[in-house]
Symmetry: C2
């Protein structure tokens, strides 16, 4: 057979796909019908060639001389990302972060519906937060099976993250959005995306510190230019 196992799409491409989607939805809201690769790239600080190459991984969506039709392209990207349907999602851990995520409207807007919350705190179990019922972790498998949930948002304390993650996998979860600042160790078949908020601030700190250094150096070299 001539089958290539070359199914590997660069991670950077998939990230940009989401960004394109975000911009396209913006364009759609403002009534824009079509968009060129260059203009779409401009809004994100990348080149038109990059945009076109990214789409080329998945097919031909554009019209020479015209550009891309916003609505059509939006649908294609959703299909590629797998968000052209509604994903039921579970949220584990109803602490500060968990509760905020339960109230976050942005998930539903992109097709993710949080249908069940879980916590170990028996005071919370049985109640509802933001209209979402809170279950005991003991009922994980039962609830997830019944509601056909395969994606989970993990917002538990760092120390229990690995344990709970393993329970999720046993309960049939195949994708985890992990907010705990640890590297989860799970079977390869499980997809993991980590969001470490402190880490993001560290990246900011580095950028800022670096810019400061660059500016200092620029000043020094200016000075030596003025008085060599």
């Amino acid at each position: 057979v001539n089958r290539k196992d070359d199914n590997q799409i660069p991670k950077a491409v998939v990230t940009r796909l989401s960004l394109y989607l975000r911009e396209l939805q913006q364009f759609l809201r403002s009534g824009q019908e079509t968009i060129s690769s260059n203009k779409l790239g401009r809004t994100l600080g990348i080149t038109g060639a990059q945009v076109r190459k990214d789409f080329a991984y998945f097919g031909q969506f554009g019209f020479p001389g015209i550009g891309y039709r916003c609505e059509h392209l939006t649908n294609e990207i959703k299909r590629i990302l797998g968000t052209n349907r509604i994903w039921p999602v579970a949220l584990i851990g109803c602490g500060n972060m968990g509760r905020a995520l339960l109230g976050y409207k942005g998930f539903a807007k992109q097709g993710f519906q949080v249908l069940a919350a879980f916590d170990t705190n028996s005071d919370l179990v049985g109640s509802g937060i933001e209209g979402i019922p809170v279950n005991s972790l003991d009922d994980l498998t039962a609830v997830l099976t019944m509601k056909k949930i395969q994606l989970a948002i993990l917002a538990v304390p760092t120390d229990s993250a690995q344990d709970v993650a393993e329970k999720l996998v046993k309960a049939g979860v195949i994708g985890i959005l992990n907010f705990a600042p640890v590297t989860l160790n799970l079977p390869n078949r499980v997809a993991i995306v980590g969001v470490d908020l402190a880490l993001e601030l560290e990246q900011l700190s580095f950028s800022v510190a670096k810019k400061a250094v660059n500016e200092r150096e620029r000043n020094l070299s200016n000075r030596s230019k003025n008085a060599p």
Copy 2:
């Protein structure tokens, strides 16, 4: 002069730096004194060579035959990231997400201290959330100047994100952690890190969908192997 303007560290390297730091802090807590590049890499699913090359951008931190001393390396990475000091931070937007972030303990642990919150809701202004005073957006410049704040966490509604971001820049902010799902348009001197939660779920959706496709294909090729 022999000055290279080649100050550019790959973004991926800086991200891994934060991950190394996270693992090292874990090792330190468990009493580990030294660590080899291979073992450190293993915990993150990358090669030892990668680890060593990453550090090589910044200097020589290891000891041949021994590895790296966890505590020493931790300090070096903090110095590089600029988190070997305490950063005062402001948080803008005390909605669901903002309030959760005010209560997030992970920031302080890595050296980020949220000293002031801001909101437009006059009911909140004057109160405190998680012990942090809520100010009016009108007092932005005054408060930021007084508290010497240069970093901000932006957790306002999407529609006002760009406006508020511009106000932040005018008030002296040089780094923004942006939770609104939009591309901020700001002067180059301002560092921006975006966290788009729905986008992260989309990445998860893609991984999961892709895995499903791969498995289906594997099944098909198995079947044709069995009955060719």
